[in-house]
């Protein structure tokens, strides 16, 4: 008995377009024919009623004009009904009076034919077969006319061809109209789906832009129903952003607050007995590593998705210029090639963190030469930094890419810098390679899938 939830689920997931379609189809397939049927039925009824009323009026005139001639022992009728068709043979308009035995009088139009009669003294309206297989509408009433013993059946009949034609014509108009209405409804529905749901589609595209980081927040210039939604969504996004910022700040403040005491403890450790010094050093280093590692993680924007594109040149130029000055003072030649205009889906701070840490590491070990290159290969950003320092063994390269490992215990933070970079690179789903540089030292190559590819404008 499990199909229920999935069935209900399927209904709940039905698109709005198909919901509207189903509702409209119910109207078009069930509602319109039902309305048509009812309208046509009532029209036929009331048209027949009007026809019968007219016949009844004629019947009353006929009744008023009938008399019995006792002398000649026959029925006489001397009234003019005002319609010549009663005198034209088989014109379709007839009257007849008969007592069912020897006395019968008819309109000339009936000629030698007779209308069927029916016993009963109330007014009866019915459809009967008339002369020449025509269909007649007939009203009949029985009256007592002295001195006749039998009740006299008086009827007026007329061909209902005109009535039927009238009804048929109405039905043609009606069904034509309803078909038109159905078509109109379906057309309007199509328009509704195209035009009425357009804001929804626009909002979805807008949301995707926010997800890709191309927009900071949703456009609220939307119909009322969606504007509220977009405003709420923006509030949620803004709160998210605030929470992230607050987390970053808290982590930054904590790290900042710990740095100075840690420095003091490092300096104090020098005064410890020699055999304790390395133990102190090791523990302090562990604290420092933990602080730096988690701070780097907390402040990384990362995760591709929601990062707005930045100009890498703008983000990195001050940093690289600053480090180039520093390199110059350390007698190291820092050669760098930056693309003039490259947009990347990266947080500016993350980009600075990656480049800063790698360059810092290279400048720390280099003898006199560091080369930085930054290139775009399709959507991949390739960053390569090599130096002419002592380089690293393959085992050290392996270790450097692992979290928080330190390569050299003598100088602080060198290994950690690289592992922070490795963390950031992983956040951006990139790749990081360490190998021997052509210059002799270490070459760090990082590939990140973050470059914004410019699509040619469609005009």
């Amino acid at each position: 008995m499990m199909p229920w939830p999935s069935w209900q689920g399927r209904i709940a997931r039905r698109s709005i377009a198909s919901r509207l379609l189903v509702a409209t189809l119910v109207i078009v397939i069930v509602g319109l024919p039902l309305a048509g049927f009812l309208l046509s039925h009532h029209y036929r009824e009331s048209a027949t009623q009007a026809f019968d009323d007219r016949l009844e009026a004629l019947l009353n005139v006929v009744i008023a004009g009938v008399a019995f001639d006792r002398v000649e022992q026959r029925l006489i009728f001397d009234r003019d009904l005002g319609d010549p068709r009663f005198d034209q043979v088989y014109s379709g308009w007839y009257w007849q009076m008969t007592d069912g035995q020897q006395h019968t009088l008819t309109s000339r139009s009936l000629w030698d034919q007779r209308l069927p009669t029916h016993d009963g003294n109330t007014l009866i309206a019915r459809t009967v077969n008339g002369p020449r297989a025509s269909s007649l509408r007939l009203v009949e009433r029985d009256i007592q006319l002295a001195p006749l013993e039998q009740p006299l059946h008086i009827s007026v009949a007329a061909e209902d061809q005109a009535l039927m034609d009238n009804v048929r014509q109405f039905q043609q108009w009606l069904w034509g109209g309803l078909a038109g209405l159905g078509t109109l409804l379906l057309t309007v529905l199509a328009l509704q789906i195209r035009w009425g749901l357009a804001p929804l589609r626009r909002m979805r595209a807008n949301l995707r832009e926010v997800e890709n980081g191309e927009a900071k927040q949703l456009d609220t210039r939307l119909p009322d129903e969606l504007a509220g939604l977009a405003t709420t969504m923006n509030a949620v996004l803004a709160r998210d952003q605030r929470l992230i910022e607050r987390g970053r700040h808290a982590a930054g403040n904590l790290a900042h607050a710990l740095k100075t005491p840690l420095s003091v403890m490092r300096l104090l450790a020098r005064q410890a007995p020699a055999e304790q010094q390395s133990a102190w050093e090791a523990e302090l280093t562990r604290i420092d590593n933990a602080v730096r590692h988690h701070l780097a993680r907390a402040s990384a924007a990362g995760e591709g998705g929601r990062v707005a594109p930045v100009s890498l040149n703008e983000a990195l130029a001050p940093l690289i210029n600053g480090l180039a000055r520093l390199a110059q003072r350390r007698d190291i030649h820092l050669e760098h090639t930056l693309p003039r205009d490259m947009q990347a889906h990266m947080d500016a701070q993350d980009a600075q963190e990656i480049v800063g840490n790698i360059l810092d590491n290279a400048l720390r070990w280099a003898k006199g030469e560091v080369i930085l290159t930054l290139e775009a290969h399709g959507e991949h950003l390739q960053l390569c930094v090599s130096d002419d320092g002592p380089g690293m063994s393959p085992a050290d390269c392996q270790a450097a890419l692992q979290r928080g490992k330190r390569l050299d215990e003598k100088r602080s933070g060198s290994g950690l810098g690289l592992s922070i970079v490795a963390d950031l690179v992983a956040l951006y789903r990139g790749d990081m390679q360490l190998e021997r540089a052509a210059l002799g030292g270490l070459a760090v190559t990082i590939t990140l899938p973050v470059v914004v590819i410019r699509r040619p404008d469609r005009r």
Binding site: G252, A255, H256, K259, T260, P261, L262, S263, V264, M265, R266, L267, L268, R270, L284, D288, R292, L295, A296, S299, P318, L319, N321, G322, L323, R325, L326, R329, R330, D331, A348, Q349, Q352, E353, V355, G356, N357, R411, S412, G413
Partner: protein
Amino acid sequence: MKCLLVEDDQALARELGQALRDGDWLVEHAFNGQEADFLVRTEAYDSLILDVGLPDGDGIRWLAAWREDGIDLPILILTARERWADKAAGFSAGADDYVTKPFESAEVLFRLRALVRRSHGHAHPVLRMGELSLDTHTQHVALAGRPVSLTAQETRLLSYLMHAAPRVVSRTELSEHVYDRDHEPDSNVIDVQVSRLRRKLGAWRIVTQRGQGYRLLAEQPAAG
């Protein structure tokens, strides 16, 4: 060599100051930017260590102001900030090098010595004047490859003369850079220490330029 340490944290100032003194530096403290600004503009220092997080304004602002006014002494910044953008701002404002907290004293001394050496135009860590050599990192003095035993004060004096060479160094300059402000010597003390150096290194190496000061020579001048 004299260093101004600008650091607002008392404990760090005390310990780092001690580490610097252990590394043969004369250290003066400033605990905020204002004080540092005054000292930098009135006293003579060979280097300055600046903590960028100061109570009275960003250290980088003070740094920029000093550079603006043509104060070109080597400046090492201490930064606790992990943001590379901030470090880069420091370099752009004119810092010569940086050390990130928590640092080791060895790294500070290493960077500081390299800065001073380069500010005097020496690229190599070992300064040479003929047969006389001074390893700026270990403060070892050797004459023709043989170590020479000097007191801390004598080493400071020689180190300053060697960094400055071949310039003539006045007594005032020496007293400013080689002696504590609190114990500024009369010129007699300097003369006594110079003559001790002459005894240990050879009298001809340190020439007295009358009315100007002292100058270090690389080669013994031809007799006469």
